[in-house]
């Protein structure tokens, strides 16, 4: 091959256009998800359970709250790599945040933190955000009750 055409057909590091596949950060969060598990009943201040009816994914999320901050968070997830990785990243973002800040986390925040996910997987990222919001609502309800 001659020099002129040597590089023209190599894929660039970042493809122009939509993200086509899971990047290294996503794969890391899928392989080594942060905050996996359940919180024992006694330590749980809020719990959320949501499902994505379109693909059958499901997520459970537990929070422990101290001084209006998310002290601990744990999740379990049945779903595709996108669901697991976004759930993991969501918990990483939420941990230590004030409830108010945690409530404001959007799926775009999660996706941005992951450096992007494939277009057709966007809906997965919503699962984590919705589970966190459900857990926060649960915490508020429990607090109102107690």
């Amino acid at each position: 091959m001659e020099d002129e055409s040597d590089n023209s057909n190599r894929e660039p590091e970042v493809l122009p256009g939509p993200v086509l596949f899971y990047n290294e950060v996503v794969i890391d969060h899928f392989m080594n998800p942060r905050n996996v598990g359940e919180l024992p009943e006694a330590e749980t201040d809020g719990f959320g359970l949501v499902g994505d009816p379109s693909c059958g994914d499901q997520m459970k999320l537990w929070i422990a709250v101290r001084d209006d901050r998310i002290a601990r968070v744990a999740f379990k997830s049945f779903g595709c790599p996108g669901a697991i990785a976004t759930s993991s990243m969501l918990t990483a973002l939420a941990e230590g945040k004030s409830i108010e800040d945690a409530r404001r986390i959007t799926d775009d925040d999660v996706i941005e933190a992951l450096g992007g996910i494939p277009e057709k997987k966007r809906h997965c990222s919503l699962l984590g955000v919705r589970a966190l919001q459900a857990a926060i609502e649960d915490w508020e309800k429990r607090r109102a009750r107690s």
Binding site: I27, G56, M59, F75, F78, C80
Partner: protein, 386 residues
């Protein structure tokens, strides 16, 4: 890399590639050109047709070259539907066809055809009684695939073809997943139309064929020049067709011994997985299957997550059919076999091929065991007891 997704596509065999090379920069003439250099290309296409016909067991004139199995399926269904529209507008197919057939049936419904989708038994075999009962006086075509792409289950095509013929109905079979895998001449299936595709049998992407039994009414679907008798116009992919012929010849050369080898490896895989992992089910295990395919459903976890877990370890397997990637619904094939949406979602397809060796299988079993365990630990639907 351990590649175990040969039902999605296969590498181009070295000999296939070598057969193709001269047609890019040396013998690149247009087969329709009126001089000897063009005729060289024509001769190459016709020799390829002859070689494939020999492997298939038909006359060269009964083969129409297309660009993909999908296009072949479209030509078969749309071509017969249009040719016989005045005779009737009912088509029978099965619930487990490839999307190339199912979505084309849907499109034909949009054009006023009626389509019956015959169910399958729990082991993935088309229900012969149901099919017999679905035939009507205005039925013009029955289309049932030979081997299913997700489970490998072989359908009773000879029986179904005979059944259709007794009612004077044409029969098409999509043999994309059986061609080159079963030691038999496809012509002996008794079908009037048969689809097969080069890239599933170590040939190149971009070449496929439709067998059309002499005398079968078929309207052309792609119109233009006189190529393929005007049934499928367009300048021929000469290199692709030559490679296709080489691939077919190679496939039939060793189909028996390779089939036995793959079956033993597949059995080793299934034994290995079922003894290493609990909560696994082999779909279609009790039916006749092509020797290279295994469909495995794992409780409580998602198939795509298994796929990525293996991918990270350099092992390529698939969820349902490659073509349905991007569609969030669980496999229509597994659903038709009675699997719950969740079980269907927990399914992977492992399909072996020429390069597969025992150690690949053993590595894969180990990786599967570990990945399944890891995902089950994460799983929110897994019983707390475990």
């Amino acid at each position: 890399m351990i590649y175990l997704d040969h039902n999605a596509t296969t590498p181009v065999d070295r000999r296939v590639f070598e057969a193709m090379v001269p047609f890019f920069q040396e013998r690149w003439g247009n087969p329709s050109s009126p001089y000897r250099f063009g005729n060289q290309a024509r001769a190459a296409v016709e020799l390829a047709r002859k070689r494939i016909a020999d492997g298939f067991g038909c006359k060269p004139t009964e083969l129409v070259f297309c660009s993909s199995g999908t296009e072949s399926d479209n030509l078969a269904l749309r071509g017969v539907a249009r040719a016989l529209r005045s005779k009737g507008n009912h088509i029978v197919t099965s619930a487990i066809e490839h999307h190339a057939v199912l979505h084309t049936c849907k499109a034909l419904e949009g054009e006023g055809f009626q389509v019956t989708y015959v169910p399958v038994t729990s082991d993935g075999v088309v229900d012969v009684e149901s099919l017999a009962g679905s035939l009507r006086n205005d039925t013009v075509l029955v289309s049932v695939m030979h081997a299913n792409n997700e489970t490998g289950v072989v359908q009773p095509v000879e029986e179904l073809a005979a059944l259709a013929h007794r009612r004077g109905v044409l029969f098409h079979t999509d043999a994309v997943q059986s061609a080159g895998k079963l030691p038999r001449r496809l012509a002996d299936l008794g079908a009037d139309l048969v689809t097969f595709s080069a890239h599933k049998l170590y040939g190149p992407k971009g070449a496929a064929a439709l067998y059309v039994r002499e005398g079968t009414p078929l309207a052309s679907v792609t119109t233009g020049g006189a190529q393929e008798h005007g049934i499928r116009a367009g300048t021929e992919n000469v290199a692709g067709i030559v490679g296709f012929a080489e691939a077919v010849a190679l496939a039939f050369e060793k189909v028996e011994s390779e089939g036995g080898r793959l079956r033993a490896l597949r059995d080793r895989l299934e034994r290995g997985v079922t003894s290493a992992v609990r909560g696994v089910r082999i779909n279609g295990a009790t039916a006749l299957r092509v020797p290279n395919t295994s469909s495995l459903s794992f409780e409580d976890i998602d198939g795509e997550s298994i796929v990525l877990g293996l991918d990270v370890q350099g092992i390529c397997v698939s969820t349902g059919s490659a073509c349905s990637t991007g569609e969030p619904e669980p496999s229509h094939v597994l659903r038709a076999m009675g699997l719950s949406p969740r079980d269907a979602q927990g399914t992977i397809r492992v399909s072996l091929g020429h390069e597969t060796r025992e150690e690949h299988i053993d590595t894969t079993v180990r990786a599967l065991k570990e990945t399944v365990a890891r995902l089950r630990k994460i799983s929110s639907v897994r019983g707390a007891a475990e």
